[in-house]
Point group: C2
Chain length 335, copies 2
DNA sequence: TGTTAATGAAAAAACGTTTCCATAAGTAGA
DNA sequence: TCTACTTATGGAAACGTTTTTTCATTAACA
């Protein structure tokens, strides 16, 4: 096997009869090098096909130009994670950073990345926070490695998140406007913060539009399609409502499937709305009204902030909440 | 701002009164170091909280333990890319590798990764091959950096791909079995290899099941939902068929939407099948029969092969074609 | 003409590892 | 007791950059 000789800065120096230092200065646009020398060096680099070794650079500079992005294990269930990552990559590329992708299940590997100084910073989609994660956060804080949360605030760490409360409030306003008098809210699993926020916002929205909260019913699901089906089956046995608002689209899909089986037509007999603008929402029959989180914006702002933290070595206290967008589709209509 | 003093191998050496070399040997499980010394060093490392710097390691070893994964720009449209990435990460983590994710649009950045020796290898989902990509491939070959294609074979480079021909053949077999006598195939954009393979396989499958190819009609789409709609609208103006096979699910969705508008019931008046098992296929009404590509397996095999190439420094000629799975759903039924 | 200041570039140190080479101590065989 | 071989370790070079220091040359000035 032919062993390729590596081309280093030394070869360039030799080829144009100057020192490594000069070549390095040319590469880094140091203005103290004479223009003609610059030309000579540039030409030499092109001629012998030199490219600086980024690892050596990183070691010398103490900066890797890489950031880790941590997503939930089931990122598959939410295509908006792709938007989040796209946004992060768009910013990253324009600033010369690379992103190392990790699922939460590989948190040990993420911790190693930090310990071994393999990344300059991190963006974490933290939907829950285990002890391991909390330790990680405090360690990063301690060693001064910047990071930003994009799920939920934890302690006093920087975050960029969705305004779940505001989004649900808009749905409430819509539901009242459409004339719904009795409403069912299907929550997520116990204590899930997103779901709690959505319920809180929904309540506020209903109340401020003159809806009597006595007519708001609440059932608990677990975010799965099946739970949406199950909950509605149980609920509709002895009660009825005008509309259902589910804490996510998967459960709303469950409700829709139940109605289809039961022969209840949507939106005529029942209004329906979900959250997340999941991939199928647009293609269901009827298409599903839902609350769309601004994932691209979150990714953009998170990455821009992170880079600022990395490069300025300061620690601006980023705490940003971004508004959702109500996607009004066919699953709810004036009563 | 408090400047954290970095803890290096030198500190460990000092702390336990031995040399850096010995500490290094302990970390790398060199058996030539006395067991008691190992204990001392291990304890010292734990006590002062030492973690080796991965960048320094990479420089010294000439190995980054990172691989680049390149996906199409519109990976958003195909959730199976997530499965591909998950598989790659699963293998990567078990072998101590990290993955750097890049979209194809940032190919320049990918090229830099290679030039700057920032990764040990690459997995590329190449659905088409631009000149830039071809140059990249040949450069990687030249400098001896391993890579694997997971889209289409190019020249003689290693690849792992889907058996599009076989998948389409199964659909053909199904269609004949269901009693369809006249069939429309909607192709992808001109010369798209996946689409061509699917058509070829479909033809073979029909013929070998005794179907008269005179009754196979072919129209060209461009993979979008809209083109599926448009093509069917135009086709059904003056012809009719028993079933449609579209080269992807998005176009099949277009056909479905057209039928819904036109009042043609699926599967009673028209059988329908697509390719890809896209996210919505399962949730459409009726749910869509489709050909599911084995993306997880592709990712697994690609990454395992890549690691073998990286670590063994040999170049086994990987050329693997994996079978699809027919997802039989409600959109086609016996005539 | 001699002193000082500014400039361009070389040499050397640093970044934090791994690895090669040397050495000292210990063991075994004669 | 000598030689030869192993074993555990230390010292130093290497990996390929950047950055600091040093030095030599030229320009400027009195």
């Amino acid at each position: 096997m032919n062993k390729l000789k590596k081309i280093t800065i030394e070869d360039v120096a030799e080829h144009c009869g100057c020192s490594k230092a000069t070549v390095s200065r040319v590469m880094n646009h140091d203005k103290r090098v004479r223009p003609e020398t610059v030309d000579i060096v540039m030409k030499a680099m092109a001629e012998i096909g030199y490219h600086p070794n980024s690892i050596a650079r990183a070691l010398s500079a103490g900066k890797t130009s890489a950031v880790a992005v941590v997503v939930p294990d089931n990122w598959q269930s939410q295509p908006y994670y792709i938007k989040l990552i796209d946004a992060i990559e768009d910013v990253a590329d324009s600033k010369g950073y690379h992103i190392i992708l990790k699922r939460r299940k590989y948190i040990d590997s993420v911790i190693e990345l930090v310990n071994q100084k393999r990344v300059d910073g991190m963006i974490i989609r933290n939907m829950e926070a285990s002890d391991k994660e909390k330790n990680l956060f405090s360690k990063m804080e301690r060693i001064g490695m910047p990071f930003i949360l994009t799920g939920q605030p934890v302690q006093d760490y920087p975050f960029v998140k969705v305004d779940n409360i505001g989004g649900a409030r808009e749905v409430a306003s819509l539901f009242v406007e459409l004339g719904y008098k009795k409403i069912l809210f299907i929550s997520g699993p116990e204590d899930h913060i997103d779901s709690m926020d959505r319920l809180a916002g929904f309540r506020v929205g209903l109340a401020e539009n003159g809806f009597d909260l006595k007519n708001l019913f609440i059932e608990r699901g677990d975010y799965t399609k099946e739970s949406g089906f199950r909950v509605s089956k149980k609920f509709f046995e002895n009660k009825s409502v005008d509309a259902v608002f589910a804490a996510n689209d998967r459960m709303a899909l469950g409700v829709l499937l139940f109605c289809r089986e039961r022969g209840m037509t949507i939106p005529d007999e029942l209004g329906l709305a979900g959250c997340d603008d999941n991939f199928f929402a647009e293609f269901l029959t009827p298409s599903l009204t839902t609350v769309k989180p601004p994932m691209y914006e979150i990714g953009t702002i998170a990455m821009e902030s992170l880079i600022r933290m990395i490069e300025n070595r300061d620690r601006p206290n980023i705490k940003i909440i971004l508004p959702t967008k109500l996607m009004l589709r066919d699953s709810c209509r004036r009563k």
